[in-house]
């Protein structure tokens, strides 16, 4: 899918050179995309920091009026939203993972380079949407977790919350795209010899994080879609007077929100697991346990969301269950902390800035972890609900854990990315400013919380005894701001005058240090063969570490030889640039804007741009639809086609999407008041359409069998049958919807109507996309080259089609059949 039809002659330049502005706008190089992510994320990190400083100035004294209450609420909302979605996640995933994954596993790019570009541009559009409120009546001001029903139009009128909702949907979609890419890359594109248990720990962290994102973002998307429908189409998903409950939002949000904590923490753990062994010059202690504990954390993170909701009264059983799981998750996290300490223990330490930050992270994150264990105890957690104690806790986790790891990673990988060294002197200065500023800002918050100060208050009374600690925090927040200013200065200075970086400045252990700094466009002139964990270390020092001892002792590590760095003798196929990811994402932005300002012509303009760009992207290369991965360009370690792994991952994510919709339907069916209920459903008619859909799956199987034995005619017949049966299903659905509408059941009537139409409607949309996909294949089959070698294209469409059918079987059973059983 990715390879260019013509061999692209690659100059022996590094990836940063050439191309001009157009080159950057159309790039599909994972390294350039990582840099784009990095620039935008550092911008939002600075903005989020300024927002935090304004918040702190406002809290300097009781009754202060530095900013208005409205502005204060906007600032803490945008501080949370941008730090999480636009700064920390993009830095860890968009920048670090994007740049380092292919280099660490010995690949030349990610599995889907154009989708990678797409995920960056879409995320940028999401960021723009979130901030467009500046120009349209104010920024969103409902808090970063936007608890319903405050977010409803009757309590938050105007555009700001519309921008927030759509911006998050768009940013979430881009994150799903990005991590799908990482997962497939790690499964299929590891270099020969790079088994899972030889991957650097950072890759392990990103692999598991990707799975977390794929399964955690759909509930958030569903929650946001409900909000969007409430705000635009008059549904009542969170409106109490219709019988709904705003608690539904909290469940959907925290089902995403707690895994989200680990989506941020796991890559941070990964960075630390790279930095600590390098500067201790020892292998990572307990590698298998480190890998398994990542998996265990990910698994448990789905069972702890309730500890955010102890105050809502979930009942003793749910409270106890969530308390136990929250306590359990401390165990694998403890394993990680102890393994890092054991790695440092007895190591030959080199105290670089990066290592300082890594050690700082271990310390500060442990503090955050300890106050986290306190939250596992439901009665204690209850007392701390929405107090400043919670603010202290999660800043120790997110700043002390994630941001410290990001800073360690920046100092560690900066030479590889830019080819220049950062100043260690400024770095150490930044470290000490950060440590002082960070602890001074957030440690006193524990006490303020215990003394009763709630979070998110614009100002506070004078007689409460909160003033002095708040002033200390404000001073320290300024010091923290200064620390980041030093970092930005250091970065600019390094690019302008920094010392030139050698390929391997830190005596590194993984493969990214075996290529030039900055790396060439093609990453590796020859795909490396991996002979063990710490692949590059083994190349340098041999398996036993006996080789190159003199170099090791002198502190000047062996560098890759000139022959290693020489450009390849033959041209390398690299993915060709594409403008369509950018155009597609502009379509997303335009369509979203149209929705928000309610101008349907603009929505159509955006949607058409989007669809045309997507189709153009599909047909851009004549290799479309072929197993096109050049073995040179992308060594596959699994033997499975990247697109197949991709579609399976996508289906996994979709399962959670439908599960959230189905769960909502089941909850709201029982709370229906007024309006028609499930008795309106017509079983015989729907049984007929269900039968048609099931038969279409059979026809799909036969179509695939036909193309696999190279029989184009029969493939067309069976594919046509599948499309026909799909259309029958859609036709019946359309009739059913119109019929219900005439009976007085619409999206706005009652809880049953809205959850029924949303669930069945989204399924119908999936069937329609499937029909379009199959129709494209049907037309493509008249092309000359469509023979048995193209069977994978049919197989992929088939996988999606079967999935949609299985979802329907579940919907039919739960919505139609079970309803009747209950009624009888």
């Amino acid at each position: 899918m990715a390879a260019h039809p013509k061999p692209l002659h690659v100059e022996p330049a590094n990836y940063l050179q050439g191309g001009g502005v157009i080159g950057w706008l159309t790039t599909v190089d994972h390294k350039r995309i990582a840099v784009l992510y990095g620039v935008s994320a550092l911008l939002f990190l600075g903005l989020g920091g300024l927002e935090a400083m304004a918040i702190r100035i406002q809290l300097w004294a009781p009754g202060e009026h530095f900013i208005s209450a409205r502005a204060y609420n906007e600032l803490f909302t945008m501080h949370g939203t941008s730090m999480l979605f636009l700064a920390v996640m993009p830095l860890l995933l968009g920048t670090f993972a994007n740049f380092m994954l292919p280099l660490q596993i010995g690949a030349r790019d990610v599995a889907f380079p154009r989708i990678n570009a797409l995920s960056f541009w879409v995320s940028l559009m999401g960021a723009i949407l979130l901030h467009l409120g500046w120009f349209f009546g104010g920024l969103p001001d409902a808090g970063w977790f936007g608890y319903a029903n405050l977010t409803e139009r009757m309590y938050s009128p105007g555009l700001p919350l519309d921008f927030w909702t759509l911006g998050l949907i768009v940013a979430g979609a881009s994150t799903i795209l990005a991590t799908l890419n990482f997962l497939v890359t790690l499964i299929t594109m590891r270099a020969p010899g790079m088994s899972y248990m030889r991957m650097p720990m950072f890759c392990w962290a990103i692999m598991i994080t990707s799975i977390l994102v794929l399964l955690a973002f759909p509930p958030l998307t569903v929650g946001l879609i409900f909000l969007l429908m409430d705000r635009f189409f008059g549904t009542h998903f969170y409106i109490v007077s219709a019988g709904a409950t705003p608690i539904l939002w909290q469940h959907l949000f925290w089902l995403f929100g707690h895994p989200e904590v680990y989506i941020i923490a796991l890559p941070a753990f990964g960075v630390i697991s790279e930095v600590v062994p390098t500067f201790s010059r020892k292998p990572l202690f307990g590698y298998p346990m480190m890998a398994y504990s990542i998996c265990l954390i990910a698994f448990l993170s789905y069972g702890v969301w309730g500890h955010h909701m102890f105050a809502t009264g979930m009942g003793p059983v749910a409270d106890a269950a969530f308390a136990v799981t929250s306590m359990l998750i401390a165990i694998p996290t403890g394993i990680k902390i102890f393994s890092w300490i054991a790695t440092v223990w007895g190591g030959s330490l080199r105290m670089t800035t990066s290592f300082y930050f890594a050690l700082g992270m271990i310390l500060e994150f442990t503090f955050g972890g300890l106050s986290g264990i306190m939250h596992a105890s439901a009665p204690i957690d209850l007392q701390q609900t929405d107090s400043y104690f919670v603010v202290a806790h999660f800043h120790y986790v997110l700043f002390g854990g994630a941001v410290f790891a990001i800073l360690a990673g920046i100092f560690y990988w900066w030479p590889k990315v830019t080819g220049k060294m950062l100043s260690e002197r400024l770095g150490k200065l930044q470290f000490w400013l950060t440590i002082i500023g960070f602890n001074g800002t957030f440690f006193p918050m524990h006490f303020l919380g215990m003394w009763g100060m709630p979070r998110r208050i614009y100002t506070y009374g004078a007689g409460l005894g909160w003033t002095h600690l708040n002033q200390l925090e404000t001073v320290c927040a300024m010091i923290l701001g200064l620390a980041f200013l030093v970092m930005y200065i250091n970065m600019v200075w390094s690019i302008a005058n920094g010392e030139k970086a050698p390929p391997d400045p830190w005596d590194g252990r993984s493969l990214e240090w075996s290529v030039a700094s900055p790396p060439p466009v093609y990453n590796f002139a020859r795909i490396p063969e991996v002979r063990g964990r710490d692949a590059w270390w083994i190349v340098k020092y041999g398996r036993t570490g006996s080789r190159g001892l003199a170099a090791y002792m002198s502190g000047k590590p062996p560098q890759p030889s000139a022959a290693d760095l020489a450009p390849p003798a033959e041209p390398i196929h690299m993915p060709a640039p594409s403008i369509f990811p950018l155009i597609l994402s502009i379509g997303v932005l335009v369509a979203s804007l149209g929705v928000i300002i309610g101008e349907w012509r603009i929505v159509i303009l955006g949607a058409v741009t989007l669809v045309v760009a997507a189709i153009a992207m599909g047909f851009e290369y004549p290799t479309f639809g072929q197993e096109s991965h050049d073995p040179m360009a992308a060594p596959s370690s699994g033997g499975t086609d990247v697109r197949k792994v991709g579609i399976w991952s996508f289906i996994g994510s979709e399962c959670l999407f439908f599960a959230s919709l189905i769960a909502t339907y089941i909850i709201y069916k029982g709370r229906n008041i007024g309006g028609p209920g499930a008795e309106i459903l017509e079983i015989p008619l729907t049984s007929f359409s269900t039968f048609a859909l099931l038969m279409s799956s059979l026809a799909m199987v036969l179509a695939l069998a036909a193309i696999q034995r190279n029989d184009r005619t029969w493939m067309r017949v069976w594919l046509g049958t599948t499309i026909g049966l799909g259309l029958v299903f859609l036709g019946v659905e359309a009739y059913e919807f119109t019929h219900f509408y005439h009976e007085g059941l619409s999206l706005q009537t009652d809880l049953f109507g809205q959850s029924f139409f949303t669930l069945v409607g989204f399924h119908g949309a999936h069937v329609s996309i499937g029909v379009l996909w199959l129709a494209t294949l049907w037309f493509a089959s008249f092309g000359e080259k469509f023979d048995g070698s193209r069977s994978l294209s049919v197989e992929l469409a088939g996988l999606y089609w079967h999935f949609v059918d299985i979802v329907w079987v579940i919907i039919f059973t739960l919505v139609y059949l079970m309803q009747q059983v209950k009624g009888a």
């Binding site: 808090g143 029903n149 109490v240 007077s241 219709a242 102890f310 105050a311 007392q383 003394w451």
Partner: protein, 160 residues
């Protein structure tokens, strides 16, 4: 397995058991209760929650009600951005059951320095029982962000 490892395993196990015991102690011996499963307020379609509350006992009559000697029911409605009532007077030693709800968005209900800490969800009744054994003026705060003037939403409980 080395002796070191064994002793660490035992120590970790002991810490876990200690945590669980502390949890059990706080719940059973100290009587810290969690907000229980909430009662619902029945809504009929197309009626504003505020109107429904006006005719739904006990919220048709918010305030302090003595149910038995020394026992009180305090009925509170949280609304944007105030509590009704926002000045609650109680005698020392009163055993109070707070029954509270919200008439619009989600609010918080926290009495600083006590175990009373609830979320007021519109359409649901939150209850919590607490015994005020020390006299004084307690701060009643909304600690769930509820909009523009959230920081002004407060009241006081005076125990004499």
């Amino acid at each position: 397995m080395e002796a070191y490892e064994k002793s660490f395993l035992v120590a970790s196990g002991a810490v876990l058991v200690a945590f669980l015991l502390a949890l059990a102690y706080s719940v059973f011996a100290m009587g810290i209760s969690m907000p229980g499963r909430m009662e619902m307020i029945a809504c009929t379609a197309d009626q504003k929650l505020r109107k429904v509350l006006r005719v739904t006992p006990p919220f048709d009559n918010p305030g302090v009600h003595e149910t038995a000697p020394g026992k009180f029911d305090v009925v509170v409605i949280g609304q944007t951005w105030s509590f009704a009532p926002d000045n609650i007077e109680l005698p020392v030693g009163a055993e109070v059951t707070f029954r509270a709800t919200s008439s619009d968005v989600i609010h918080g209900f926290m009495i600083v320095g006590t175990n009373v800490n609830m979320m007021l969800v519109p359409g649901e009744v939150s209850s919590e029982t607490y015994k005020f054994s020390r006299p004084g003026e307690y701060l009643l705060l909304c600690h769930e962000y509820c909009g523009r003037l959230h920081h002004t939403m407060s009241g006081k409980v005076v125990v004499k």
